[in-house]
Amino acid sequence: MRDTYAWAAIGLIVLASTTGDVLLSYSMKQVGDVGELWKRRGLLAVVGRVLSTPAFALGLMAMGVAFYSLLFGLSWGNLSLVVPASASLTFVANAVAARVFLHERVGGRRWIAALLVAGGVVLMAL
């Protein structure tokens, strides 16, 4: 039963952190290259522009949900199960989500990379 809870928490972590990453990436694409913006308008303009993007606040909230799901997951499952399982699944989920929602061209190169990194993270935690 604890296993079921642990995997439910892992699913929630993956869902929330993928949502968060996609929203944060989306908001920063709306803001545009912050280096350029900083050069032209100064640091305050960058901060103001980022904070006034609704997707940024939503992304932060999703990241908060992911963090608390991690805390709950850790209280139900082992560190050595929850952390690598959620981290590596998040890499794969992010590749799918970036392709579907952000329309990034996730070619063979990036698929292989996502799988390699996901596998590597699991091995590092064993």
């Binding site: 990436s25 694409k29 912050v34 280096g35 990034e104």
Partner: protein, 146 residues
């Protein structure tokens, strides 16, 4: 990709590693927390290690957001995974922890994944060109020039 942009990607790896290690160091001083002792969690930032850790994690977040403003999510994420490798290498060379063969394979897989992505284009704008093959070739050639 300019040199400055590679520095930002390196910052993601280094600052997240530094932040996590400093937080872990600080939390060791403070001992375990329970849900009944939430005020202790707030006071934790008074610990200098924890405070420094939070500062580095904020720096990491600034670098991460900056990178996302000019690169794809699927390009930036593998860079963040190098942090796992860095932690293991610091543990090995500074703290003389033993790295098992499985973990060395894991390090190699992550490094290979990062290499695969880094060799490709960093930004694939979706709506600029209807013909995807041409668009990706364009991004690659822009990459080569910058």
């Amino acid at each position: 990709m300019t040199f400055r942009k590679y520095l930002v990607l390196a910052g993601i790896t280094v600052f997240s590693t530094a932040g996590d290690s400093l937080l872990a160091r600080g939390m060791k001083d403070l001992g375990g927390f329970s849900l009944h002792n939430l005020s202790g969690l707030l006071l934790a930032i008074l610990n200098p290690w924890v405070a420094m850790g939070i500062f580095f994690l904020l720096t990491f977040f600034a670098c991460y957001m900056s990178a996302l403003s000019w690169a794809d999510l699927t390009y930036v994420l593998p860079a963040t995974s190098l942090a796992y490798v860095l932690v293991a290498l610091i543990g090995h060379f500074r703290l003389h922890e033993v790295i098992s063969p499985t973990r060395w394979v894991g390090i190699a897989l992550i490094a290979a994944g990062v290499g695969f992505v880094a060799a490709g284009p960093s930004f694939t704008p979706a709506h600029e060109c209807p013909n995807s093959r041409d668009a990706s070739r364009d991004t690659v050639s822009v990459e080569a020039k910058s």
